[in-house]
């Protein structure tokens, strides 16, 4: 058992439409267990593109991706979905929740898909997460009836339901005001310090990055510093 949870080996990606463009150029780095890593860089430098590859949703790239000592590159769609479900918690910039479901149902859905715990146990766990995030009272509300900051906290709870190996976030505070950004950051920090949760968070907020344990700086599809 190595101490590394995620490893990118020489990952490159080319967009050919509308013009040929090397959006990612030979990216290699790794994230250790319990590390809180942030990725920074100018808008358009390829941070999101990289994160979609690392989260196994984008399979069209060169190089290799390893998660939890397992080679992910080349796996079939169904296995990738299972890896996302079990090992990765994803928090988007825009709070994607299923509007047909309540807050509690949104959070338990990935857990029910995993199928390891009963719905009852999952709901208990979801309630505990909501309590930690300070939004316990919202559990029975429909997802489209809560504010943006609350939605982002629900999305974090959903990302945590299966106790993933790593949490990935694409500018999770990018759409929030100062106060809510602070709340979200503190949640991440708490997860990192108290639960030794590995995190890989893309951000363009230098203040946010400065407070993480490690910063990866990107420019024009390359890693400048890490």
């Amino acid at each position: 058992m190595s101490n590394i949870i995620l490893e990118a080996r020489n990952i490159s990606k080319v967009f050919t439409d509308p013009v040929q463009m090397n959006v990612l150029n030979d990216i290699s780095f790794s994230v250790g267990k319990g590390e809180f890593v942030s990725v920074v860089g100018k808008s358009g430098c390829g941070k999101s593109t990289l994160l979609y590859i690392l989260s196994t949703m984008d399979t069209d790239y060169q190089g290799e991706l390893w998660i939890d000592d397992q080679k992910v590159t080349g796996q079939r769609e169904q296995q990738l979905a299972a890896i996302r479900n079990e090992k990765i918690g994803f928090v988007f910039q825009f709070h994607y929740l299923l509007n047909e479901f309540t807050v509690l149902e949104n959070i338990t859905l990935p857990g029910r898909k995993l199928g390891k715990l009963s719905t009852q146990v999952l709901e208990d766990r979801a309630m505990k997460l909501l309590r930690t995030l300070g939004i316990e009272h919202l559990y029975n509300k429909k997802a489209n009836r809560i504010s943006g900051g609350e939605k982002q906290r629900v999305a974090i709870a959903r990302a945590l339901i299966n106790e993933p190996q790593i949490i990935m976030g694409d500018e999770p505070t990018g759409n929030l005001d100062k106060k809510n950004s602070e709340i979200v950051f503190e949640i991440f920090q708490q997860l990192s310090q108290e639960f030794n949760q590995s995190l890989l968070i893309v951000t363009h907020d230098p203040e946010f990055a400065a407070r993480t344990s490690r910063v990866i700086e990107m420019e024009d599809g390359k890693i400048l510093r890490q």
Binding site: M57, A81, Y96, N99, R112, K113
Partner: protein, 419 residues
């Protein structure tokens, strides 16, 4: 576990769009209702028209045909028997219309357990004398009890009592059209002349209405004994033996068998009424065509609604995929949506189809041609319900297949980046 989750998600998506879902389901319901009603009604009519013939046609009829002998004497003459002889103007040697040894044949048939009923008959051509006009007609000498048991004779006697022709001597039941031509009522006396020139007077015991008007203008019935008396023939003189057999499909083979065994002519119901099958199958075909057309229209409705739903739910599909649902799961979710529309829409359609059939079944339908029918006929055969339900599941499956496949292929990266 996974199945329950998929069904839960599918139903939540359905509920979120319950108005469109309802419209789609109503489309299926409507077509299945029409399908069931149409088939039930069409086949009810088929059965009725078939019964019109089947009820009153023997499965096998034994008779003696007047025809030339197959082996002409020239072929027995030693000088010509090996030649190819051309014969002109052959006469029928056999002038005997009655069945030879009928008593013995009937006894043998009674022992045969493939035969469920035997009705002897004696046909006589007569003239009904009305003033100085002679109307040609036929008197069938029948055994009323056998005729009633095998051919529902009593159902067609619309006035008077069928049993009277057995119980009262010299009585006759006239076809309704014939009675009207002769201007006679029950209790009146008609004058008839046989082909041999003998005159008789018979008392009218009732009217008979078959549903075939041309037949009712010439046909009449009396007891076998009465007709034997008219013709001056002995007590075993009959022209036809009518049989009902246990399995109607055996009729052609049995007809052939009896023809050789008894050295007699025979006819089975299939060759006598070949055209009936055709009419029935054309009517069924029309009902199926209409039902399937309606279902295809409903199918397009479902297809549209699912496509719309997928465009609306792109975000939800992307989230589900990002959180670990595979393309296969998404595909199943949308298939469940389509099939549940088919299932509930179809089931409701069956219920409504049954209700409408029952209502039609109550509507009075009186026609002079069909005295035994009082309301519109409906066939409630379960097979139409099974077919209707299978069709609705099949159509919704097809309607859901392509949208579901599209949903399963949604690339979450494109959706999430697009924000």
């Amino acid at each position: 576990m996974n199945a329950k989750l998929i069904i839960d998600i599918a139903l939540s998506l359905l509920m979120a769009r319950w108005k469109q879902t309802l419209v789609a389901a109503i489309g299926v319901t409507f077509s299945i209702t029409m399908f069931i009603t149409l088939l039930g009604f069409m086949n009810g009519l088929n059965d009725m028209l078939d019964a019109l013939i089947l009820n009153r046609t023997a499965h096998v009829r034994l008779f003696t045909e007047i025809k030339p002998k197959a082996d002409q004497p020239v072929y027995e003459h030693p000088e010509f028997k090996d030649n190819h002889n051309i014969l002109h103007s052959i006469r029928s040697g056999n002038s005997r219309e009655s069945i030879y040894n009928s008593g013995a044949i009937i006894k043998t048939l009674q022992q045969d357990n493939r035969v469920i009923g035997i009705a002897p008959k004696l046909k006589a051509q007569v003239f009904f004398n009305e003033g100085n006009i002679d109307i040609t007609g036929v008197i069938d000498g029948i055994d009323v009890e056998a005729e009633a048991a095998l051919f529902f004779f009593n159902d067609y006697v619309v006035k008077g009592n069928a049993a009277d022709i057995r119980n009262l001597a010299n009585t006759i039941i006239l076809g309704k059209g014939l009675a009207e031509k002769l201007l006679v009522d029950i209790g009146d006396v008609v004058q008839i002349t046989t082909a041999q020139g003998e005159s008789f007077r018979l008392k009218v015991a009732g009217y008979f209405q078959s549903g075939l008007q041309d037949l009712d203008k010439v046909q009449s019935y009396a007891s076998i004994q009465t007709v034997q008396k008219l013709l001056g023939k002995p007590a075993d003189y009959i022209t036809d033996i009518q049989l009902k057999v246990r399995d109607i499909n055996d009729a052609p083979a049995m007809a052939k068998e009896f023809a050789t065994t008894f050295n007699i002519d025979s006819e089975d119901i299939q060759s006598a009424n070949a055209q009936f099958e055709t009419g029935s199958s054309v009517r069924s075909l029309i009902s199926y065509a209409v039902g399937i057309t309606l279902l295809i229209v409903a199918g397009f409705g479902i297809y549209n609604i699912l496509n719309m739903m997928i465009y609306e739910k792109m975000d939800s599909i992307a989230i589900m995929k990002a959180t670990g649902f595979s393309g296969k799961d998404v595909n199943r979710i949308f298939m469940v949506i389509a099939l549940s529309i088919g299932f509930f829409g179809g089931l409701t359609g069956l219920v409504f189809g049954f209700i409408i059939s029952s209502i039609i079944d109550q509507i009075p339908f009186n026609t002079a041609a069909l005295p035994t029918i009082k309301t519109y006929p409906i066939n409630y055969d379960a097979i139409y319900y099974v077919i209707g339900f299978s069709f609705s599941m099949f159509t919704t499956f097809l309607a859901g297949y392509f949208p579901a496949r599209k949903a399963s292929k949604v690339d979450p990266v494109i959706i999430i980046r697009g924000k």
